[in-house]
Symmetry: C2
Subunit: 147 residues, 2 copies
DNA sequence: GTACGGGTAGTGTCAGCGGGACGATGGGCG
DNA sequence: CGCCCATCGTCCCGCTGACACTACCCGTAC
C-alpha cells in the first residue's frame, strides 16, 4: 500500500504547516482561524452559511463572530437586499494577518524545498498538484472525466 | 516560487487528513488527541515532558490526563525508579482508536490515490518522501552531508 | 545513622476564556 | 400571518494559567 508511505511523509508537511500557524497567529484559536479563512474565501457570506461550513449551530457562529468583531478581525454588514441577513467581511487587519500567515508558510516551505534535489522538487509539485486535482474532483468514486 | 503552488496543493492533503480525524475521533478534543499521539510515540513519558511537547504548563497537562484517564484512554503508572514521576501509557482502547484513525486516513488517502495516474502517484511518493527527509534533517541551513 | 534543606514531580484549587447547544426573542420578508 | 435570519440569555464543558501544596529525591550536616 503506497498510502502508508504517504501517511508518514505527509506528517512532515503537516508539521511545517502547523509551525507556521503557531508562529504567525499565536493568539488565534483554531475555530477563529477557520472562520477567517472561510470568510476570506467567500467574502460577504452570511452567518447561516458560515455556521454550516464550520459545522456548528447558528448561535455558536454568532458568538464566534462576536469575538472576531471585538478583535477587529471581521466586519458585520447588514445585508442590503435582505435586511435579515448580515454579510461578513475581513478587515484590513485580518487580511494582512492571513497574508502574513501565508507568507510564513511559504517561507518555511521554501526553506525545506531549498534542501531538496531539483528532481525531488519537481516530483513533489507534480504529485501534489495531481493529488489536489484528484481530491477536489469527486471525493466519492471514480466518475472523473467522461466528457 | 514553487512554494506557492505547493501551498495550494497541500491544502487538499490537509483536508483529507482532517476529514479522517473528524470521522474517526468525533468525541476527542484536539488537545486530547495530540496528547494521545505524543504518548503513543513515546510511551512511558512523564507528565513534565508531555507538557513540554504540548507546550502547556504542567498543571494543565495533569488536568488533561485526568480527563484522558477518566475516559479510559491513558494509564498513569507510578514510576519505579523515581516515585515522584509517573509514566503514561496508552490503553488497549486508545491504541485501537489511534489505529482506526490511521486506517481511516489511509483509506481516504488511498481513495484519492486511486484516481491518480501511476506516474502521478510515483511522483507524489518520491517528492513527499524527499520532502520529509529534508524537513526532518536540519531545519536550519544546508549543511546536509559533508561526509 | 538521622535530621534538615533545596530542588523536582504532580496534584488541588481558583479564575477566566472559548466554544457548543437549546430556547426564546426581535426584526424583516413574502 | 407564517417563515426565516440573526441575536441574546442561559447552561455546561474543555482548556489554560497562576498559585499553593504535598510527596519525593538527594546532598549535607549533625
Amino acid at each position: 500500500m503506497r498510502a502508508a508511505a504517504l501517511d508518514d511523509a505527509a506528517q512532515a508537511l503537516l508539521a511545517t504547516w502547523e509551525s507556521a500557524r503557531e508562529g504567525s497567529t499565536p493568539r488565534l484559536s483554531a475555530a477563529q482561524l477557520s472562520a477567517l479563512i472561510v470568510v476570506g474565501k467567500d467574502e460577504g457570506i452570511n452567518l447561516r452559511t458560515l455556521a454550516g461550513r464550520l459545522r456548528m449551530i447558528l448561535s455558536s457562529a454568532s458568538r464566534l463572530c462576536d469575538r472576531l468583531v471585538a478583535a477587529g478581525l471581521v466586519e458585520r454588514v447588514p445585508g442590503r437586499v435582505d435586511r435579515r441577513e448580515i454579510a461578513l467581511f475581513l478587515t484590513p487587519y485580518s487580511r494582512q494577518l492571513l497574508e502574513e500567515l501565508r507568507a510564513s508558510r511559504l517561507a518555511m516551505l521554501g526553506a525545506v524545498l531549498d534542501r531538496m534535489s531539483p528532481a525531488g522538487r519537481a516530483a513533489l509539485v507534480r504529485g501534489l498538484t495531481e493529488f489536489a486535482h484528484a481530491a477536489t474532483g469527486q471525493p466519492a468514486d471514480a466518475a472523473v472525466r467522461t466528457a
